[in-house]
Every structure is written in C-alpha cells, then in structure tokens.
C-alpha cells in the first residue's frame, strides 16, 4: 500500500467552497463550506447520494465551473480553469465516436502540441497499460462499456496527470465489468505504472468506495458538505466478506442514514416535514414493493440491516435511500443508524388487500405530507374542484428550484393518484376531484 505523505503540503486544497446556482432572484445553495485536502499517494472517495453536489464539487476542482465563493488551489496556486496536471475520467466515457481508439487517446497530446511520432508512441503505450492493445484502430461504437472506459482511462493517463479525477467511472457499467475494471485500476495504481500521485473518485457505491479508497469523505445533502471522514486501513486486496470491510461499510451506512441533527441514543422521532420538503423521487408502486419485501418471512418483525437489505435487493444507495426516506416521511417505517424497521401502520399495510391499502395510504398522505393535504384542501374549496398544476408549481418554486419543484409535484401527483385523493389530466395539466370519464 502506498505511503500517504500527509506531512507534505497537499496537492489540492479546497477551502470554504460554496456554490449557489442563481434562480430568479433566489440562490439555490448546492455546496456549502466544503473543505478538503488531497495528498500525495492516496485514493480519496467522495461518497454521497445523487443530487448531493459531489459531481459539482469535482467539476469545481477540475476548473470547469467556478465556485461562488471559496477557493481551490493546486500546489498553492489558485485554480481558475482546467489545469495541466489534472485529467478526468467521465461517467459516460465522453469519447468522440468519430475518432478511433488511438485518435481518442492522442487527443489530449494533440492539444498540447506534441509531435506526431511522440504522440503515437505515448498513446500506444497508454493503450497498452489499460490492456487494450490490438484495438487501436477500433471505433468507440465497436467497444463494450468496459472497454470504452478503458479508453477513457488511457486518454487521461497519456497526458501524465498528477491527479486523476474520476466522475462515477464505473456506474455506467454492469456489475462484473465494473469489478474487473476496479481491480485493474488498483493494480495500475499500486504498480505505479503512471505518474499519478492522487486519485479523487466520485461514487455513490459504498462498497466501491471501501474497496478502492484510503480515505472516504461522506457527502451530505442540502446543501452538500463533507459530513464525515473515514479512513480505510485495510491492506489490498480487500474482500467484501472480510469483517473489517463489513464494519466499515456498516459505519458508512450509519453516517448516511443518521439525520444531521440527531444525537445518538435519543428516542426515535419522525421528521415533521413542511410544504417545501423535497419529497424523494420514488413512485407509489416502488414504495409498496419495498413494504411487501420487508414483510417477507426473513425480514418480518425485526430491524433490517440496510447494507444487507440493499445487497439482497441489488439496489445501490441512490435507489435505496429515496425509498427508505419515502417510508419514513409517510410513516410506515423507522430508519436509524443503518437499520430500518416497519412500524405498526407499515405492518398492517403489508397484510391487507389493495383497496384497504389505498385507504391507509390516503390517510397517511393527507396527514403527514403537507403538500398533498394542501392540494386536496384547495380542490375541496373550489366550487369546480379544479386547479391547474401550474398554480402549485408556482408555490413550490418559492421553496425549491424549478427542476426540483416539478419533480416533487410529479411525485406527489403519483402518490395522490394511487391513493385516489385527487385525479390528474395530463393533457390539460389539471388536478381535480373527478374520476376520468
């Protein structure tokens, strides 16, 4: 395992970075008070749910977008645009489909004005390193996802970067390919085949982070910030069945599920949510699916360990946490430090028939989701029992950005339709109390 030289000055330092996107007159805060340092000889994982701003942070470090305030420095110099020593690997590879593998890899060198012969030999060497020799003249269309990402990696390596930034590099790949590529990345890093001194990896896959990283920065939402830092001191190769590995995965789950304000050991309290709460983007049918799953014999009647549950359902945290959040705000389950458990209402819901379910769902919706009860109240009060979705959208936009507001409205309309507390007409965008005729 490479030695981490923390005593030496950091390669990259992120100081008090804040990022807000302008929206009308309001600012939507995406990142707030982010501080971190990247040192020589370490792989750092930036782990968080989607929408937590971790990719935005990566782009700020890369010099692609400016922070609203705060500073990123590279060897003590402020980053004002893409820097020479940094290279990036993209989630969807970002290869130019009209260039061959070789030409794609040469691209960065061409931009640096490297002479043709040198360009060629360096590119071929990089392609060699990622294990793609023989495919130099292939076009990206001919390659599988895993091979494409290898090209992406070669393209980044060939410019001899000091820091490699990776934006969810394995998330567009299937499970086996991703595992294979992770292993190869690690070999490459350990054998020091390239001059890379640091890798910063953005991911939402907990096991991936624990497998690769020396340090994990757990990212929290709203606004995004570094909530916790974990050191992974397991020697490579790491195995997911290893007790130390499992312990770290568990503690990552704890950090992610722990509400920001909750003190450990206190009595469980449900969140009281407001009109402008960002409802998790899941459909009613998915919520019901999870409820049914939790009532299966092996899970029934006790706390369920989230890492285990996510493994069983093949859901990564981007899929799982919105679901658990929905169960929580609808008060069908309690979620605490890495565990989830059905409450009484949840248990009843899981056993009754579909009509009864709709009734219970409607009750909870009207009682615990202020937006849903508000829509219902407005419709009740109107003589025609009609209202345009634009009306509610406008109100939501007081609290949320335009995109998020329409997403939240879509979610509440889906839930409300399932519960039959109101109807919705796609063509007119009208919410109403009528059944479609």
């Amino acid at each position: 395992m490479p030695e981490i030289l923390e005593s030496s000055p950091p390669i990259i330092r992120v100081g008090d970075v804040k990022k807000a996107f302008k929206k009308d007159r309001q600012d939507m805060l995406v990142l707030s008070n982010v501080n971190l340092e990247l040192h020589e000889g370490e792989i750092v994982a930036l782990l968080g749910k989607s929408g937590s701003g971790k990719s935005t942070l990566l782009r700020i470090i890369a010099g692609l977008i400016p922070p609203t305030s705060g500073e990123v420095s590279y060897h003590g110099k402020a980053v004002l645009g893409p820097m020479r020593g940094l290279a990036m690997v993209f989630q969807n590879f970002a290869l130019l489909p009209w260039l061959t593998v070789l030409q794609n890899v040469e691209l960065g060198l061409e931009a640096l004005g490297v002479k043709k012969d040198e360009r060629r030999s360096r590119a071929i060497q990089a392609i060699d390193i990622v294990g793609l020799d023989g495919f130099e003249s292939a076009y990206p269309k001919e390659l599988s996802g895993g091979m494409s990402q290898r090209v992406g990696l070669a393209r980044a390596l060939v410019v001899d970067p000091e820091v490699l930034l990776m934006d969810e590099p394995f998330s567009a790949l299937d499970v086996l390919t991703a595992e294979n590529l992770r292993g190869d990345l690690l070999d490459l890093w350990q054998a020091k085949k390239a001059k890379i001194k640091n890798i910063l990896l953005v991911t939402h896959n907990i096991e991936e982070a624990v497998f690769l990283a020396d340090r994990i920065l757990v990212f929290g939402n709203n606004p995004g910030n570094v909530r916790a830092e974990l050191r992974v001191d397991i020697p490579h190769p790491r195995h997911s069945q290893d007790q130390r590995f499992i312990r770290i995965v568990d503690s990552v789950y704890d950090y992610i599920t722990m509400p920001a304000t909750m003190t450990p050991g206190a009595e469980y309290r449900y969140k009281n949510i407001t009109m402008g709460y960002r409802l998790p983007n899941v459909q009613a049918s998915e919520i019901i699916g999870v409820l049914d799953m939790m009532n299966e014999p092996q899970y029934r009647g006790h706390k369920i360990d989230l890492p285990e549950f996510s493994d069983e359902l093949h859901l990564d945290i981007d899929d799982l946490f919105p679901l658990t959040e929905a169960l929580e705000v609808l008060r069908f389950a309690q979620v605490s430090t890495g565990d989830i458990e059905l409450n009484e209402a949840g248990k009843i819901f899981a056993t009754v028939d579909i009509l009864e379910r709709k009734k219970i769902f409607a009750q909870h919706l009207l009682k615990y989701i202020p937006l849903a009860s508000y829509i219902r109240r407005v419709l009740d009060e109107r003589p025609e029992h009609h209202a345009s979705q634009e009306r509610f959208l406008g109100e939501l936009e007081d609290y949320l950005s335009e995109d998020v507001a329409s997403e939240v409205l879509r979610v509440v309309i889906d839930w409300g339709r399932y519960a039959e507390i109101f109807a919705y007409d796609y063509n007119t965008g009208q919410l109403s109390l009528e059944n479609p005729n």
Partner: protein, 582 residues
C-alpha cells in the same frame, strides 16, 4: 461485434492488391477528367462580357453536356459558400447568446424570402462589381443558388452545435483543446450527419430555381448564362417539347452522377459520425467507395489528405492555447461589452426603422397595401389547400410504403430525383391541359407550386411509419385492431410529428415556388394567376426594385406569421403528446 464493417476502412485490404493496379488507371482517369473539366468551366466563367451582348444559347442537344457542367459548377460553388456561411454563422449563433438573438431570427426571415427576390435585388450590384466580365452575372446566379441552399444548412449546424453533449464539451476543455481544434474535432463531426442530409436537400432545392438563376433580367435586358436553366427557358420560349425532354434526360443523368460519385460515398462516410450506436443499419458500400479503396495510388492520396488535414488542425498558429476560463451556465461575458453591443444594436434598429418607414411612406399607398395583402391571401390560400390535398394523397401512400421497408429502399432515390425536378419542366403539360380544357388558371397552376415540395411529406411519412415500434404494430395486430381503427389509434398519432415536419417544409417551399409557378408561359402565351408570387415575378421582370422589396416583405410577413401562429404550436403539441418513447 468487434469485427464490424469499419474494419474494411483500414488499409490492410489495399495491400492485397498489386500496386499499381487496373483500378488505379480507372480512378486516375476519373479524377483527372473531373479536374480538367472544372478548369475549363472556370475559364468560361471569367470571359469578358458587356451588358447587352447576347450570349447564344442553342437548343441543339449536343451542347447539353457543356451546359450541364456549367450549371452543376454553379451549384457546387454555391454549396461551397453556403458551407462557409454555415460554419461561420452557425457556429457563431451556437456559441454566443448575443449573436444567436440576431442571427437565428434573421435566418428565419431570409428563409421566407423567395429566392427570386434575392436575384432582383442583388443582380445590378454584382454586375457593377465585375464590370466588363462574365463574372458579374455568374456571381448573381451563384448567389441565387446560394440563397436556395444556405439557410437550412446553417440552421441544422446551429442546432447540432447547441446539442453537443455536456460531457464531451467538458472533456474537450479538460484536455485543453483550442477553439480551432474543438471546431474540427467536436463541432463539425457532431453536426456532420444532419449537415450532409441538408446539403443533399439543398442541392435538390437549387435545381428547382435553375431557370430563374440563369435567365436573368437586368434593366429590361435579358442575360442568359449558358446552362441547363437557360436551355429550358429557351425551350419554353420556343415551345419546343423535344428540347424539354432532352433537358429532363440531362438532369436525370447529372443528378444520378453526382449522387453516385459524391453523395452516396459521403453518406457512407458520414455513418461514422452518427452519435447513437445503432448497429443494425448496414448500408451497402457504394461502388465508388469500393473502387477508391482498391486503388493503391488513391489510398496514398487519401492518406496525404488526412495527414494534411491533421496538420491544419494542429497548426500552431491557429492553436494559440486559449486559457479556458471557467464558465457558468449563466452568461459570463463582461457587462461593458454587453452595453456597447446593445448600443450598437439599438442604433442599427433605429436606423433601419427610419429607412423602412421612409421607404413605405414614399412608395406605398394604402390601396396598394390592401391589394398586396389580398394577393398574399390568395397565395396563402393556395398553399394551404395544396398542403391539405397533397397530405390526403401522400399520407396513405407513404404509410403503405413505410410498412414495406424493402419497397421503401427502392422508392427513396426516385423520390429524391422528383424533389429536384424543376417546375418549369412541367409547364408544357400544365399549359396544354389548361388551354385544351379551358380550365381556370387560378386553380390549375397551383399544382406547380407543390411539384417540388410535396415529396417532403412523402419522405417524412415513410420515415415515420418506418419508425413505428414493431411491438406496437404487433400489439395492435394481436388485439385485432385493423382498418380505420388502427389508423386512428396507431398510425396517425404515430406519424404525426414526422408528417408535421414534412408539411412545414412543403409549405415553406410552396411559398417560395409561387414566384415561379403563378406565372407560366409556353411559347409566346402567358398564363397569369392572381397572387403575390405572380406580382413579384412581374415586378422583377420590369426591374421594379422597390415593388419587389415591398411584395417580398409582405410575403415574409405572411410566412412568418403562419409559422408562429399555426406550425409552431402544432409542432410543440406533436413533440409533447405524440413523441414515441424510445
């Protein structure tokens, strides 16, 4: 999967052939023959010429190859400039929000201006510019062709530049590509498939105006440039049916030639720029591509070409490393630049407002305006009626063909030729029918207006039917949904967005064609319909510049209002309601 068709692009295949080989001889002759012909044509273009001097055009078919060459040369020169225009203005509009605000509406308006009006307005200028040389009228003709080609190409390029995926843009910045490299490595290739399709359409479109562009009238003087267009004009003047048939045959051969030698190979080549990874399209290799792949010499030439283009792209002079500033999605341009820009723009707008007001006040009377609006209404009515009628005809036929993909492949090139077919060539038929049966001119000249553009409806309906998902077709079959029910529930909603694209293009083209189609002549007799197109035609025949401008403005007004009030809302509806989930 890995051994796809692209392997054939590598040079390995060529080494299997002896060097130099027979194919070299064939390809060599082909290449140098073309070069010699082009050189000859270029010399003809710059011969001395004085206004009033008659250029003899002969109806003897032996001159037709020469005429065809000159016409095609004009078209390709026009295409070259259209491409230049596209690269400059399409890129500019795609990159700068400020430029976009002016360029895009401007192109929108220019698109609605009938091609013939451009000629009437600019021809004197060009002749004055190249006094005493053939280049004057040649430039005017080329300019007309350019105006028939450029707008849709520029719009397509602009659309592409704006839709380059975010990750690719970021990659290009991360790896420090200069603006020049980015343009050739990212923007142009990304736009290529759409651009080529539009170039092919543009070529077809410019045939439609071939007579108008070559038979110019300046200050009541007729100038006939040697070319197929002038030949057709003369044939019409002499009411020579045989000559018309020769012209049709010549066109057929010429279109076939450049389709085979240029557009087929290009269409094959452009496949590699398609962004989606669709594997199932297996285009047959055009024979020209095969020929050129088999020649050693030409392989070396193509290698030379690619090396040179690479040198140009990496040329250090053009690649002064731009220090990419970080950009927000929100504008990051300096505010004082904006202020200056707005002031300059304001001055221009006020200036042109004054000019227009002055122009209108001095030339236009209220009665005349009313008359022009009435004429516009007549032409508009014709256009609408024609779109409805051709839709009724071509939608069922298009769907029928679309359900039979093999037949569609055969019919496609035929339709492409028909789209290029100039209306003038149909004059004799329409003329004789009208005269013989004493038909109403107002109604029966109308079909000429959609002669060239109705095919867009057919094209798009075929494409739309093809694109209907197979499982939807099968699902309706299993439920026994057939006949009219199937039309209503599956076919019509499914093809609606495609149909609309076709109808919009057809309507735009019909307006433009009205200038040619509302006045038809055969021999010494003229048939006149009431309409804005006929008005513009007459005004430009008389060299009445101000009335050409006036009528053109009215026509633009009509076209743009109809676009905004009818087509755009419909199009939005189609995009939202009837777009099929892929």
């Amino acid at each position: 999967m890995f051994l796809s068709k692209y392997i054939t692009y590598t040079k390995n295949e060529a080494t299997k052939w002896p060097t130099p080989n027979y194919w070299d001889v064939a390809a060599f002759c082909l290449l140098f023959g073309v070069i010699i012909l082009l050189a000859w044509g270029a010399r003809q273009m710059s011969l001395p010429y004085q206004i009033g001097q008659a250029i003899p055009i002969s109806l003897d078919p032996k001159f037709l190859p020469m005429y065809a060459l000159r016409t095609v040369m004009r078209m390709f020169i026009g295409l070259f400039f259209a491409l230049l225009f596209t690269f400059v203005f399409g890129t500019w509009a795609g990159k700068s929000k400020r430029a976009e605000k002016i360029i895009i509406p401007a192109i929108d308006i220019l698109q609605s201006v009938p091609v013939l009006s451009f000629l009437a307005i600019t021809v004197t200028g060009f002749i004055a510019l190249f006094r005493g040389s053939m280049l004057g009228p040649e430039c005017a003709a080329i300019f007309v062709i350019f105006t028939a080609q450029a707008w849709n190409m520029a719009l397509s390029f602009y659309q592409s530049v704006r839709t380059v995926p975010q990750e690719l843009r970021e990659a290009v910045r991360i790896f420090h590509l200069s603006t020049w490299q980015r343009f050739w490595r990212l923007d142009v290739p990304f736009a290529m498939p759409g651009l080529l399709w539009n170039m092919m359409m543009s070529m077809s479109g410019s045939w439609f105006f071939v007579t108008a562009s070559e038979a110019l009238s300046v200050a009541k003087q007729k100038i006939t440039l040697p070319g197929v267009g002038s030949y057709i004009a003369l044939a019409i003047l002499h009411a020579d049916t045989k000559a018309i048939i020769y012209a049709i045959l010549t066109m057929l051969v010429v279109i076939l030639l450049y389709d085979q030698f240029l557009f087929r190979p290009l269409a094959q080549w452009v496949q590699k720029f398609k962004f989606e990874s669709v594997e199932d399209v297996t285009l047959e290799q055009p024979w020209v591509v095969k020929l050129f792949q088999r020649t050693a010499l030409l392989n070396r030439l193509s290698w030379l070409f690619s090396t040179i283009s690479e040198k140009v792209i990496t040329l250090s002079l053009l690649n002064r490393s731009v220090n990419y500033q970080m950009q927000d999605e929100e504008s990051s341009e300096h505010s004082w630049v904006g202020v200056v820009y707005n002031i300059v723009l304001g001055i221009f707008i006020v200036g042109s407002l004054v000019t227009v007001t002055y122009f209108i006040a001095t030339t236009l009377t209220l009665a005349e305006l009313r008359h022009l609006l009435f004429l516009g209404g007549c032409t508009g009515l014709r256009v609408m009626a024609l779109i409805v009628i051709s839709s009724l005809i071509w939608v069922p036929i298009g769907v029928w063909i679309g359900f039979r993909p093999r037949f569609a492949a055969i019919i496609q090139p035929v339709v492409q030729f028909l789209a290029a077919f100039p209306a003038n060539l149909a004059f004799p038929v329409v003329f004789l029918v009208i005269v013989k049966f004493h038909l109403n001119v107002e109604i029966w000249v109308s079909p000429l207006m959609v002669l060239g553009t109705q095919w867009y409806i057919l094209f798009n309906v075929i494409a739309g039917t093809n694109a209907l998902p197979k499982d939807l077709k099968q699902a309706t079959e299993t439920f026994g949904v057939t006949g009219w029910l199937r039309w209503r529930k599956l076919v019509l909603p499914g093809i609606f967005p495609y149909f609309l694209t076709g109808a919009i293009t057809a309507a735009g083209g019909a307006w433009n064609a009205s200038v040619i189609a509302e006045v038809i002549s055969w021999g010494a007799v003229n048939l006149h319909a009431t309409g804005l197109g006929a008005y513009i035609f007459d005004a430009s025949e008389n060299g009445d510049f101000s009335h050409v401008v006036l009528a053109t403005a009215i026509m633009s007004l009509f076209v743009i209002s109809i676009n905004r009030l009818l087509w755009r809302p419909l199009y939005n509806l189609a995009a939202e309601r009837f777009a099929l989930r892929s």
